[in-house]
């Protein structure tokens, strides 16, 4: 009996291995979506199937797996027609020949930041649906309102550290280029410059220009005793315990802050030398696979059934990330947090999607780390980082 049972299990496992998963086939749409997007798409699909007589299959995958799985399964003929993804995957997906350009009929109804993020040269490669950018959370029990200028911000951070109102004036995760970028951009730094056609130039790196160096040295001064050098989870525990007046991070932290019962406000960062800080913006959207057998159908689905107020608003309801579709965004702005993110995203820079960004993150992070721990001054650390980035990019390492 035991033997027979073992045999049966082995047999079932083998069947599981042999069974093929869905793949893009003409006349049937296959969509890869993550767990938050799947329920909304499941609702929409019935209507589409009824109207067009085409079946739609939604396959749920962890968000992080979608990009890697596409690279393996699409060329093997096992891929989907449409994927859900982030705009900064785009460079890699295009370099690998995996996604197709899209014609969006209602482009003017989308926030510019969303369209810009999914544009590559003149072509559009995705239908954006949600946007996120970091901003400033502040604890209303400690300060009444967020500082408007960097000078005020600095004063506040120093004063609060020396007072007994809170342990810290300000916390942010470090070393973290993504969270630090608003300071860099506020003082005039940038990652990649653009050429005459508006295309990013990977050999023009602005991470050691005057503004970038100024930003990092200002931060380093504050990190010398006034701001704790902590990572993301530690930062969250400090802020949710009510031990810090301000925190820099994105809307994904809202749920935890609410759960901790903190009376908070969410707004954009203070201006630096009169300039608006420009955080990186991340945009999520739908992309069409190059290996799709239903490219026109996929675009039809995205244009008619996804790019409308109702569906876009439902994505927002389920996920809290503000919609880039303007009518849905206006409806969502009744919530002050969402309005805060949208205000923050207005000045935002799309996170560079070109593949050379892989070389930037790590070297940039090292420079921030060396400078904030006072081991190197900002100029030296950033010069070295840029040199390191350029060499690995130039020599195609």
């Amino acid at each position: 009996m035991k033997k027979a049972l073992t045999l049966l299990i082995v047999f079932l496992m083998l069947v599981g291995l042999v069974q093929t998963v869905g793949a893009s086939t003409p006349g049937q749409l296959l969509i890869w979506a993550d767990d938050t997007r799947t329920p909304v798409l499941e609702d929409v699909k019935g209507q589409f199937e009824e109207e067009y007589g085409v079946s739609v299959i939604i396959q749920e995958k962890p968000f992080g797996d979608i990009r890697d799985d596409l690279a393996i399964e699409a060329p093997a003929g096992e891929g989907p027609d449409i994927i859900v993804g982030a705009h900064d995957w785009m460079g890699e997906l295009i370099a690998n020949g995996l996604i197709e350009e899209i014609t969006l009929f209602s482009e003017d109804k989308f926030m510019n930041a969303g369209i810009e993020a999914f544009s590559w040269g003149e072509e559009l490669y995705g239908v954006p649906y949600a946007i996120e950018a970091v901003g400033l959370f502040y604890n209303k029990d400690i300060i009444d309102e967020a500082p408007a200028t960097f000078e005020e911000f600095k004063e506040l951070v120093i004063n609060l550290r020396n007072s007994d109102k809170a342990d810290y004036g300000f916390v942010m995760p470090q070393p973290d280029p993504y969270h630090s970028f608003p300071f860099f951009s506020g003082f005039g730094g940038y990652v990649f410059g653009t050429d005459a056609n508006g295309v990013l130039n990977p050999l023009d790196i602005g991470l050691n220009n005057e503004g970038s160096v100024r930003a990092l040295s200002e931060l380093a001064k504050l990190y010398d005793g006034y701001i704790p050098n902590v990572d993301y989870p530690t930062m969250m525990s400090i802020f949710t315990a009510g031990d810090a007046a301000m925190m820099l991070t994105g809307p994904w932290a809202v749920a935890d802050i609410r759960a901790a019962g903190i009376d908070y406000g969410f707004t954009s960062l203070p201006t630096m030398d009169g300039n608006e800080p420009r955080p990186f913006v991340g945009v999520q959207g739908f992309m069409v696979s190059s290996f799709s057998e239903n490219k026109i159908l996929s675009q039809l689905f995205l244009n008619d059934f996804v790019a409308n107020e109702d569906v876009m608003y439902r994505f927002y309801e389920i996920d809290d990330r503000p919609p880039t579709f303007i009518p849905a965004g206006e409806r969502a702005s009744e919530d002050p947090d969402t309005a805060g993110v949208l205000a923050s995203a207005e000045f935002a820079v799309p996170m560079p999607a070109i593949t050379e960004m892989a070389a930037v993150w790590s070297a940039w992070e090292d420079a921030i780390s060396l400078s904030l721990t006072q081991e190197q001054d900002a100029q030296e650390a950033l010069d070295n980082a840029v040199q390191q980035i350029l060499r690995t990019i130039e020599e195609g390492m």
């Binding site: 033997k3 045999l7 047999f11 083998l14 069947v15 042999v18 093929t20 003409p26 006349g27 109207e51 067009y52 007589g53 085409v54 060329p75 003929g77 890699e92 295009i94 370099a95 690998n96 020949g97 995996l98 014609t103 704790p228 050098n229 902590v230 990572d231 989870p233 530690t234 400090i238 190059s290 057998e293 239903n294 026109i296 159908l297 675009q299 039809l300 593949t355 050379e356 892989a358 070389a359 993150w361 790590s362 070297a363 090292d366 420079a367 780390s369 060396l370 721990t373 081991e375 190197q376 030296e380 650390a381 070295n384 390191q388 060499r391 690995t392 990019i393 020599e395 195609g396 390492m397």
Partner: protein
């Protein structure tokens, strides 16, 4: 009943073979239908071997090692060869597809002709022969064309032609010679065919543009298989194959590139590029020290505790043993993340305690190379000692107690007994495990990466190599955090180098423990 008793084994065998063959046939059909011919050949090969071995009397004994061999080839030998293969290619971001796929991709690119034209269309289908007729309508010029999918030729027609039966628009037409008009829903269901349709129109191609329209396009890239080049028809540039890309002196390379054999290029880069080499030696030295310290500290503590727990007079032995195994029973990556929090230099518990104590101060864990390394060794000690304790406990039990009695009679001290009886006999059984523990820690990616991602950063470094990076984490950063994204070719090359290093060290280690074996033989 008797028959059943006699032939039970044989019947089971036949059932098993029938199942196996059915499965193999199924996968054979699937792989042939998907074009996986190599897989099909392998399947047939395995099928023949299995059937032969299980049915033949002569090779019957082989069936015991067959499954083991099969899985060893599948899970050990095959990955090694695959890694070697990948290390000789340029597989990575930008070079993922194979050459045919890239050519296909490029040949699908189009550009708009000087005089772009858009046509509305009405499609008709003959269900019996599965063919289409399409009438195109250029509303601007009021011109009509008709094409069919049989010979893909297009000809101009006019509303006064007989087929229109005097109707004013093609969309009012119900049928042409057995071809029935498709409504919107039917068009969508036939999109697969319509989308793939390319009809020559003057010098251009008529292709479907959207659900309602066809438009004129020109194919941009054409592959010439005779001399393996790609011609850009828009500006007549010729692209030749160079290092996995189609390349033109003036225009640069076309994206995407394809996967191709590059010989020893990845190895050459590793061995000649001083930016890689310079940190390589520093990283290598630390990796070696790290693996050595890991084994030494965990073994020392494990041995000590095992000796204590081995004392039969100790009360609550079982309780102690259970408590001491806890670090081993917890999932490693959770413990590592907890330790990471404890060692946090600003808010971590360890520094808070140190600050509260007299004479000592907070230590720069995570930011200073020495203290981060010290913390790592400590964390690894916590993670690793229970394993060492367990294996040593087992080995201690196997030492013959009469040896101790004899030595006690001879007047040996406790230290002498430990040094000359326990230790040598222990090493015989534990030695190989220490070697494997060394190899494991040599490649302990999880701990290094989760604890501090190989950092702290080193000021003035040329490549991203942090102060606690070991070879395997350095490989990871080299392959995924530099240049243009992932570089699997380079990663495989470094992996093989590490494999060779570890294999060499392990070989010497086994020679060393082999020498210990002789102690046993002389016993």
């Amino acid at each position: 009943m008797n028959f059943w008793q006699k032939n039970k084994a044989h019947i089971f065998k036949l059932i098993f073979l029938a199942f196996f063959n059915a499965l193999a046939l199924l996968s054979l059909i699937i792989s042939i239908s998907q074009g996986g011919y190599i897989l099909a050949v392998i399947t047939v090969f395995i099928m023949i071997i299995i059937n032969f071995v299980y049915l033949s009397d002569r090779f019957y004994p082989l069936r015991y090692i067959l499954p083991g061999t099969f899985f060893m080839i599948l899970l050990v030998v095959y990955p090694i060869f695959y890694t070697i293969y990948i290390s000789t290619t340029n597989y990575g971001t930008g070079n993922m597809l194979n050459k045919d796929q890239v050519i296909n991709h490029l040949e699908n690119r189009t550009y708009l002709p000087d005089e772009p034209r858009t046509f509305n269309f009405t499609a008709f289908k003959n269900e019996e022969i599965d063919q289409f007729k399409i009438i195109f309508e250029d509303r601007e010029r009021e011109e009509y064309y008709m094409a069919d999918t049989i010979n893909r030729e297009i000809s101009q027609i006019s509303l006064s032609d007989a087929i229109f039966q005097g109707l004013s628009s093609p969309s009012e037409l119900e049928e042409i010679n057995g071809y029935k008009r498709l409504d919107r829903m039917q068009i969508i269901q036939n999109l697969g065919t319509l989308e793939a349709l390319k009809i020559e129109f003057a010098d251009n191609e008529l292709r479907m543009e959207g659900i309602n329209t066809f438009a004129l396009y020109r194919q941009r890239f054409v592959y010439n298989s005779a001399n393996d080049t790609i011609i850009d028809q828009r500006d007549a540039h010729e692209y030749v194959v160079r290092q996995g890309h189609f390349y033109n002196e003036e225009m640069g390379r076309l994206s995407p590139g394809f996967r191709t054999f590059v010989g020893f290029r990845n190895y050459r880069r590793l061995l000649t590029d001083d930016r890689i080499l310079q940190p390589f030696f520093r990283v290598f030295v630390w990796t070696f020290i790290w693996a050595l310290l890991s084994v030494a500290t965990t073994f020392a503590l494990g041995l000590l505790l095992a000796l204590v727990l081995n004392d039969k007079d100790l009360r609550f032995r079982k309780l102690y043993r259970t408590i001491l195994i806890i670090p081993y029973a917890m999932p490693g990556f959770i413990s590592i993340l907890i330790w990471r929090g404890l060692f946090n230099p600003e808010v971590g518990v360890i520094n808070r305690i140190l600050e509260a104590l007299p004479f000592v101060d907070a230590l720069p864990f995570m930011n200073n190379i020495f203290w981060t390394r010290a913390a790592l060794v400590l964390v690894n000690l916590w993670l690793g000692f229970p394993y060492m304790m367990l294996i040593t406990l087992g080995a201690l039990q196997s030492i013959n107690p009469s040896l101790y009695e004899v030595s006690a009679i001879d007047g040996a001290s406790i230290w002498q007994r430990f040094r000359y009886i326990t230790l040598p006999l222990l090493f015989i059984s534990v030695g190989p495990l220490l070697v494997s523990s060394f190899a494991y820690n040599f490649n302990n990616f999880n701990l290094i990466y989760l604890f501090n991602a190989g950092r702290p950063a080193i000021a003035g470094a040329q490549t991203p190599a942090g102060g606690t990076d070991i070879l395997i984490t350095y490989t990871y950063r080299l392959s995924f955090e530099t240049g243009r994204g992932a570089d699997f070719g380079l990663a495989s090359a470094v992996t093989l180098m590490i494999f060779i290093i570890v294999a060499t060290i392990t070989w010497f280690n086994f020679r060393f423990t082999g020498a210990l074996e002789e102690v046993k033989e002389n016993e």
